[in-house]
């Protein structure tokens, strides 16, 4: 019998290791799997490469993982946002590496990683500093730059509902990077607000088919990141 449900966020990280590449879903706090990130902090895994659109805010979630010096390198499109102080400070002090990627290129590199496509050509970033050193090629008179797929050892994803097969549905714009990250990691760990009976998600509405998911843990009442930030909380509590 297939049952991908695990009983705690810590159980979900049994095989985490130093130096792993980890994709973390979310656009700002929407879709950010904050409880999974906190459990990752608890594992003490370090030297991580993290692929995520932003770098977290305040001193919780992704920002806390970075603040705890567990991240060697960030691959992201927008490393500074309101209340984002941890990453900028480390970056200015040369204590963390940054690979800046246009948002659509980031999405496509992840999609390609999950789809078995090693590289592709995109018009985004041509004639800009972000294309420096990359192979360019002309198709039908227009220049394109070659970008490589990204694959990860782990993906941490937040969703709304999951069943034991790992079929997922998301909530509104919290979907963002979740579905593509699920496809691009060796081990995809999902935190779901609801665990539902197999068969209760209409197959027509499944967004992530269970084949892309390895572990599901229920987090019925996920923390509201902006509230934690407003309260000045920092993790570890």
């Amino acid at each position: 019998m297939i049952n991908k449900i695990v009983h705690s966020t810590s159980e979900a990280f049994v095989d985490i290791f130093d130096g792993a590449t980890i994709m973390i879903s979310g656009f700002g706090e929407a879709g950010s799997p904050i409880e999974l990130i906190h459990s990752l902090i608890d594992t003490g895994a370090k030297n991580l490469t993290v692929v995520s659109n932003n770098t977290g805010s305040g001193n919780v979630g992704l920002a806390a993982l970075i603040e705890n010096r567990q991240v060697r390198k960030m691959i992201c499109s927008f490393p500074r946002t309101a209340n984002s102080t941890v990453f900028p400070e480390l970056y200015r002090n040369n204590e963390i590496e940054l690979e800046l990627v246009p948002q659509g290129t980031l999405a496509e590199r992840i999609r390609a990683g999950g789809a078995g496509i090693p590289a592709f050509f995109t018009p985004s970033s041509v004639n800009t500093p972000l294309a420096d050193g990359k192979e360019e090629r002309e198709f039908d008179g227009k220049l394109y730059v070659m970008e490589h797929a990204i694959k990860a050892d782990f993906a941490l994803v937040k969703c709304q509902s999951a069943d034991r097969y790992g079929n997922l549905i998301y909530n509104k714009t919290a979907r963002n990077f979740g579905p593509i990250m699920c496809t691009a990691a060796n081990v995809t760990i999902v935190q779901a607000k609801n665990i539902v009976e197999a068969g209760s998600i209409d197959p027509e509405t499944v967004i992530t088919p269970g084949i892309f998911v390895n572990r599901v843990v229920q987090v019925a009442s996920p923390a509201d990141e902006s509230k934690l930030v407003a309260e000045g909380r920092s993790y570890p509590w």
Partner: protein, 217 residues
């Protein structure tokens, strides 16, 4: 006394000029900042569908106080609403819409725009600055019409419409139209053509504020 600052359109009026030019039935992506003001100003009877690259087509107005949903946000991470007929999607689909040429108009802010329509809007290239690009490079590479809405000059009076951008580019030869507080300017292969000037702005005054040689239609 009328100071130079008061000459020209204010931000709302600039946004209104953009809104007036959006054809009925357009799919439009609005950037962060002044472009966000466009949505509320589309004339009655014109239906425009707004795309926000974090994964929503059919973005509505700002939610009523107390009904904000932190999982329903725009690209600026502000809470929004979804109109009836809206759809949600993941990032690869969102940028398929952008890069694949499916959107009609992208309205963006700018640091500099060159005579050839080069756009710089993501980095001043200063050491110590945290570079952040977001979806701007994908938008200018893929959207059919790229409209820029910006103050005509910097706060300290420097040119923004320049011969060559000194800041790192977002895209080369990508801007179609520029909406500033002083004028609406179309960027064509043969030069920058002034389509409309704000009340009280003369062509000579506008030229003085612009590094590039402007052309009158």
């Amino acid at each position: 006394m009328v100071t130079e600052k008061q000459i020209g359109w204010n931000r709302g009026e600039m946004a209104q000029k953009v809104a007036n030019d959006i054809p009925d039935g357009s799919y439009v992506n609005l950037g962060i900042g002044i472009p966000e003001l466009v949505a509320d100003r589309v004339p009655e009877g014109i239906e425009v569908v707004y795309h926000t690259e974090n994964g929503l087509l059919g973005m509505g107005t700002v939610p009523a106080a107390g009904s904000e949903d932190p999982e329903l946000i725009n690209a600026g991470k502000k809470c929004v609403t979804a109109i009836p007929g809206a759809s949600y999607f993941h990032h690869a689909d969102s940028f398929t819409m952008i890069r694949g040429g499916h959107l009609d108009i992208s309205v963006l802010g700018a640091l500099q725009i060159s005579e050839k329509g080069d756009l710089a809007n993501w980095s001043t290239g200063k050491p110590g600055a945290i570079p952040a690009v977001g979806g701007a490079m994908d938008l200018v590479a893929g959207v059919k019409n790229v409209w820029v809405i910006t103050e005509h000059n910097t706060k300290d009076g420097k040119f923004k419409l320049v011969k060559e951008c000194s800041f790192p580019l977002t895209g080369k030869g990508v801007v179609n139209t520029i909406y500033t507080n002083l004028a609406i300017i179309d960027v064509k292969k043969t030069g920058m053509f002034v389509r409309e000037m704000a009340p009280g702005v003369s062509f000579e005054f506008l030229q003085e504020k612009t590094e590039i040689m402007l052309k009158q239609i």
